[in-house]
Amino acid sequence: MRGALKITLGIMTAIGGFVDIGDIVTASLTGARFGMTLAWAVVLATAIMVLYGEMAGRVAAVSKRAMFDVVRERLGVRFAMVNLGANALLSLLTLAAEIGGVALVLHLVTGIHYLIWVPVVGLGVWLTIWRLPFQALETVFGLLGLCLLVFAAALVLLPTDWGSLWHEAIHPSVPAGEALPTWLFYAISLIGACLVPYQVIFFSSGGREEKWSVKDMKDARLNAVVGFPLGMVLSLSIMAAMVPVLRPDSVDVRHLGQVTLPIAQALGVLGLILTFIGFFACVFAAATESALSIGYSVAQYFGWTWGKRHKPSAAPRFHVVCLSSVIAATGFMLTSVDPITVTIITVVLAAAAIPLTYLPLLVVANDREYMGRYVNKHWQNGLATIALLVMVVVSLATPPLLFATKAGQ
């Protein structure tokens, strides 16, 4: 049991970072429209996440420094400032999307308009940051998020054509009637949703919150190797569950309620309850993580005291940053922008910004001065370089695809 508890950071990062509103929306949208032909994008992104997540954990454990401490020390004030600005803006947008997402889930459950829920959710997110201990945050949301395994259960009960799902997944091709740019646009959305930069910041700072040291390296590794693939299983099962139910009618998923249709059909009310709990846990955790990661990165850049392991009065500037982020994101959602639109914009921008966060990590993981004998092995660098090339290609391809496809229409 202790072993199981040790990987809760990994599970939480996977639940909240990997499976968040961006992932739920893109996975279900692509499942309903393209079947499993884009499953490769999720698998590819997961492989990259495992590789870089392990590096982030190792850097946190060995150098005892979180992401932005090392970014500033190694890559200079100016580059780090640009990086900080881009990351903070993106995380703020993500936070807004997640707050909107939780409000949509609560709307589905209660029937009360989501805009009424937005400030309530904002308050809840802030209270969680303010009061809930880090360990409780990990355990509660990590475990509740596992409710999303109902999508896998639904797949078993639905008239799923396993052969064709598998065939589509391993022979990716553009489905008939769809254009290649649109298909590629959704591929990069999926990759952006899986690799949102705040995950790495959260994972490495979380390792510091848990006071990881060299002895905990195995746990850190286990967290990355188990947590992120678990997230992949969850998002692939959401994607696959859409295929037998929504794809025959080529439903265009524009509403969170549509995502729950396969569950309603296969498992009825009990399944729906589990789905809502799972959605709530994942998206709420993601909101908390993205808000925290803004506080983490700003405080680390300026050398302030940060983290939930301190009382708020001991880390006042960190808490001011988190609080202002939550207020700004809540205010943005209250302008009645569509949460699903904000989500899609966020994952696309994330896709464009990926190399900015992942490159410094690769540089630091190779620095003997910080890492001693725990620097990257040759094979890790080989794979990480290929992964970085993929990220750069994704990043460069994002703007033209965004305009050419009018955001995937």
């Binding site: 004030v77 400032m81 050398g303 006042p316 001011v320």
Partner: protein, 127 residues
């Protein structure tokens, strides 16, 4: 520059500063080097902290803007950055600087103290 020579900037810029009790004081935003009156070797006399030290290093319009904000936050619009004098330094390596004073005694503590007193301290449950 010949190999093997490490500059003071490389050694100190952007390192984390901790006080006597391990509390974060800030980053080394810049350093102050003084050439003695008798013309001897330049010595490190202080670490400089805060936006007025960081601004010039950021450079460009953004850096100037950053410096201006820092200046407004300093008492009496003082331009010279907050100094952590060299005699306060106990140890330093390429990762961190440790001081022999507490954060509360340092002038770098003003934003922290202000946010604690006027924002965070007023919200229930901050302690």
């Amino acid at each position: 520059m010949p190999q093997g020579i490490v500059t003071a900037n490389d050694m100190l810029w952007d390192r984390q500063i901790y006080d006597r009790d391990g509390v974060e004081v800030g980053k080394v935003d810049d350093i102050e080097v003084t050439i003695p009156d008798d013309g001897g070797a330049p010595t490190l006399t202080a670490l400089l902290c805060g936006p007025t030290a960081l601004g010039p290093r950021l450079g460009g319009r953004f850096g100037a803007w950053w410096t201006a904000i820092g200046q407004r936050l300093r008492p009496g619009d003082e331009l010279y950055p907050v100094r952590v004098t060299a005699d306060m330094i106990v140890t330093f390596d390429r990762h961190e600087v440790r001081l022999n004073v507490t954060a509360a005694e340092l002038p770098t503590n003003r934003l922290r103290a202000w946010t604690r007193q006027y924002i965070i301290g007023r919200i229930p449950g901050s302690r």
